[in-house]
Amino acid sequence: MKVTVTVNGREYVRDVEPRLLLIHLLRDELGLTGSHWGCDTSNCGACVVWLDETPVKSCTVLAVMADGRRVTTVEGLGSGDSLDPVQRGFAECHGLQCGFCTPGMMLTARWLLDHNPDPSAAEVREAISGQICRCTGYENIVKAVLWAAKNGGQG
């Protein structure tokens, strides 16, 4: 099936199998390997990207469901050489260790701050509670998001 997807502002047209998962379209077909695959069951959130304005787990979205829509991945965070405050916050607060969950976490964080520019720590925890990090115990991820809220907020 032919799909037309705009990823990080750039339009891609691909002929794909109907069963192809969005995460595999992004990684294998488009070479955007910043989004990761971790579990198959929508539990870990390593694959979180935005579909239009909403974070989704791209391991459980078919590529054809993204037809005619916009996808934002970690590669689309920030602009040019300047990092999004969320990206800066993660580096500033040691919000990552192995870096595997980080892209998905940052995309959820960006969405949270767009909707709630001054969240509490509890609200940050709630927002990322559908995602798993095996390295940080989440503490510094929470700090990173709060740092981003204080230092630039909107991307």
Partner: protein
């Protein structure tokens, strides 16, 4: 006591030590890390593994003809195909053998049977469905407690002379001395406890890309490996390929925690397939494959006993353990220690005697046992002793903090040789416990607990104190497959004074690129930005056994220090020529070789490096470079320690446990980057919450794995983990060149008993003395009702 202030104060002078931001982050926050599944080579094929649905069955036939007919399938490998190449079996890291692809029987659910290679990953999966396997089911051995029964089915009929499921018996300590202490003791407490099977579950699963160049004979593997050099040696021994023709690249790893230490059948299948097809082959397992077939952790069935005087002086410990190793003995640990370092179950206390015996058995479950940040089984040891101490406190009516304080080793007793032979290097235990109690506001917590109990609210306060032994090891008695556990560091100093450090250890998120740069910069008067750290590529780094058992900083960190000091020694000779003085006239001060008595005159590493590479005439024996390399053989292990306190609230109606606070005081010796150290502790505390409350890999009576996805194997999220409250003391290791001890696993080792002790403390009014992990709501409820806790029913 959070933040870095008190640590910095104790560690002066810092130089480049301190909480500097990580070099790694620039690529990761941009999504530009390179993980194995990100590797894509021209013409690359994709592999997938057909796995056994049964735990124990004879294989009657494997028919791959329909799969081979699939238009996108390039090859199918079966056990018979590999047997023809001598590759059907491979050695494990414990001196056993493991099937690469099954030829005779399958011995656990999820075992590898066939390997399909296809043009894309979807087609490879499709073709698995086309392989027909005929099985003759056999009764499985699932419960380790029945594995040694006379009528138990034989798991390993492939081993000559193996008549039962027994693997090893192992003892440590002095049995008669321990027995004497127990017979004379006023009080003894004993308990059966299970440390359930769990899984490290790094977020990135295991995988490999294998490429074989038939012209040069070179095999290159991009592989999820915590020990690339050891893997290279192993692949050479298994495949017969010369070791210098094998290159292992372990790129960015999405966590490891011990899961990426062993060699797995999928890696060898990819090598075989790449050799046969002449094309690069990628194999990346899915989450269920990761949870069901790669190395598990724990699975220790323990009987522990503690002896004490009536006034609370702990005298001795005994333990009897049944260790479930699964279908192949594939634990990754020093060869002479089949139970790992479990015999440090003597803990942090001044004992008169201790004795333990461990029996290992085969069952029809996935192989493994030593993994998941366990410091070679010290998790199990700390859990046993810390639960027993709490039970003793309850029996004697002594506060558990007070009982520990009375029995902790005192600073003057170090170096301390424990009853099972470990020589603890250094420690100030009472200080760490006092700090944890202070941060917690312990007395106030006990008052609050009493008040709440009066209102029918159940709050728990759990303490654990742990001593670890990390940084294996002295190579004389610690080896894996005969490879001594030493590690190398190579320093290349460029003419402009910029430095490349090659190390044999492999980061999985611990921040080696930053910490090791700080170590070298500190020694050479440079900044961390002047030092590039290379790791994870066997062509570019010196030999060593890799990262696990918290050994990177204790072993390779020491190697980096020693190499830097060699560079300094070389630089002194060149500086002497530059300054037209004798080397004896120079002293290393504030990052430069300076003239004694005239410290304004001197030269730094950059100037000296340029001079070394210049036309400057050097005396005989002084080479025109500053490069140096070292292989570091640690004289002893290092012994980090800590005091943890966990505060929980338990709802007896639902069995729900909420972790309210977690206080952790860690002493890992000198802290090179306190920010990274604290990050490691944060992770381990989350592990403790997960292990104690949620995580277990259980099986039904047929050997079906009940934890094969993240829907069944529950990991803590941000909602289960509180904001940790950390403290630090710094007791340098006397034998490590910069006094560092290692931190990677401390909190994973130390935190589970704090959580369990807290829950049991909360349940004390119900008469609960012990309940096994995982303390899920279902199991807490069962404990309150006086019913047996069931790992297999933990989620029901």
């Amino acid at each position: 006591m959070t933040g870095h202030g008190p640590i910095a104060a104790e560690n002066k002078p810092y130089g480049p030590y301190g909480p500097v931001p990580r070099k790694e982050d620039a690529r990761f926050v941009r999504g530009q890390g390179t993980f194995v599944d990100d590797i894509r080579l021209p013409g690359m094929l994709h592999g997938a593994i057909l796995r056994s649905p049964l735990a124990h069955a004879r294989i009657v036939s494997v028919d791959a003809s329909a799969a081979l007919a699939h238009p996108k399938v390039e090859a199918v490998l079966t056990g018979a195909d590999l047997a023809g190449r001598g590759l059907a079996w491979m050695p494990t890291l414990s001196g056993d053998v493991q099937a690469v692809l099954a030829t005779d029987k399958v011995r656990f659910q999820g075992q590898e049977i066939a390997f399909v290679v296809a043009q894309d990953r979807y087609a490879a999966r499709d073709a698995l469905e086309l392989i027909a396997v005929e099985y003759e089911p056999l009764p499985p051995v699932i419960d380790a407690l029945t594995a040694l029964d006379e009528d138990a089915p034989l798991v390993r009929d492939d081993l000559a002379g193996q008549t039962g499921n027994h693997i090893f018996d192992w003892t440590a300590g002095d049995r008669s001395a321990a027995d004497a202490v127990f017979s004379a003791a006023d009080v003894t407490v004993d308990c059966d406890m299970v440390y359930p099977r769990s899984h490290p579950a790094p977020l990135e699963t295991c995988g490999v890309v294998a490429a074989f160049d038939a012209v040069t004979g070179r095999l290159t593997l991009w592989s999820t490996s915590q020990a690339p050099h050891a893997h290279r040696t192993l692949y050479s021994l298994i495949t017969g390929l010369p070791e210098h023709k094998i290159r292992i690249v372990s790129p960015d790893l999405g966590g490891g925690f011990g899961n990426k230490v062993p060699v797995y059948p999928g890696y060898l299948c990819a090598i075989a397939a790449a050799t046969i097809t002449g094309r690069a082959v990628k194999w990346v397992e899915d989450r269920s494959e990761n949870l069901m077939s790669t190395t598990f952790a724990r699975d220790y069935h323990m009987h522990g006993e503690i002896a004490a005087t009536a006034d609370g002086r702990i005298l001795g410990l005994r333990a009897r353990v049944l260790a479930d190793h699964g279908a192949f003995n594939a634990t990754a640990q020093p060869a002479k220690f089949p139970a790992g370092f479990f015999h440090i179950f003597t803990g942090s206390y001044d004992l008169q005697a201790a004795y333990c015996e461990v029996t290992g058995v085969y069952t029809n479950k996935a192989p493994g046992g030593v993994a998941y940040s366990c410091s070679f089984r010290i998790t199990e040891a700390v859990y046993l002793v810390e639960r027993l101490v709490d039970m003793l406190a309850a029996r004697l009516g002594i506060d558990p903090a007070e009982l520990r304080m009375r029995n902790l080793l005192q600073p003057g007793q170090f170096p301390y040789t424990c009853p099972t032979g470990w020589q603890y290097d250094s420690g100030d235990y009472p200080r760490a416990l006092a700090m944890a109690l202070d941060i917690a506001g312990y007395d106030e917590l006990r008052r609050e607990q009493a008040e709440r109990r009066a209102h029918g609210e159940y709050m728990g306060i759990g303490i654990s104190f742990f001593t670890e032994a990390v940084g294996a090891g002295p190579r004389g008695h610690m080896d894996i497959l005969g490879l001594g556990m030493a590690d190398g560091a190579e320093l290349r100093v460029h003419p402009t004074g910029k430095v490349v450090l090659g190390v044999s250890v492999q980061t999985q998120g611990q921040g080696h690129e930053t910490t090791f740069a700080q170590i070298v910069a500190h020694e050479l008067g440079l900044t961390p930005d002047d030092v590039e750290v290379v790791h994870g590529d066997t062509d570019r780094t010196p030999f060593g056994l890799g990262t696990y058992g918290s050994r990177s900083t204790p072993v390779s960190g020491a190697a980096a220090v020693m190499a830097a000091r060699k560079v300094r020694d070389r630089a002194r000779l060149v500086a002497a020529v530059m300054l037209e003085l004798s080397p004896d006239d120079l002293e290393w001060l504030d990052g430069k070789w300076r003239v004694r008595g005239d410290p304004e005159r001197g030269a730094g590493i950059a100037e000296i490096a340029m001079a070394a590479h210049s036309s400057l005439e050097l005396p005989d024996g002084v080479e025109g470079h500053l490069d140096a390399s070292v292989v570091y053989n640690p004289p002893n292990l290092t012994f980090p320690f800590g005091a943890y306190i966990c505060v929980t609230d338990v709802d007896p109606a639902t069995g729900e446990v909420k972790v309210r606070r977690f206080i952790a005081v860690d002493d890992c010796g000198v802290r090179i980057n306190p920010m990274i150290v604290e990050g490691q502790v944060h992770r381990g505390l989350a592990d403790g919450i997960g292990m104690a409350l949620m995580q277990a890999i259980a099986f039904d009576e047929n050997g079906n794995c009940l934890g094969g996805s993240f829907m069944d194997y529950l990991l803590p999220t941000a909602l289960e983990c509180p904001s940790p409250e950390l403290g630090a003391t710094v007791t340098p290791s006397p034998h490590h060149p910069i006094g560092a001890k290692g931190i990677g696993e401390s909190a994973t080792v130390g935190s589970p008993p704090a959580v369990v002790n807290s829950v049991i403390d909360a349940l004390a009014p119900f008469g609960v003395e012990h309940a096994d992990m995982p303390l899920t709501p279902a199991n807490v409820w069962r404990a309150i009702q006086g019913r047996p806790v069931r790992p297999d029913l933990a989620l029901s």
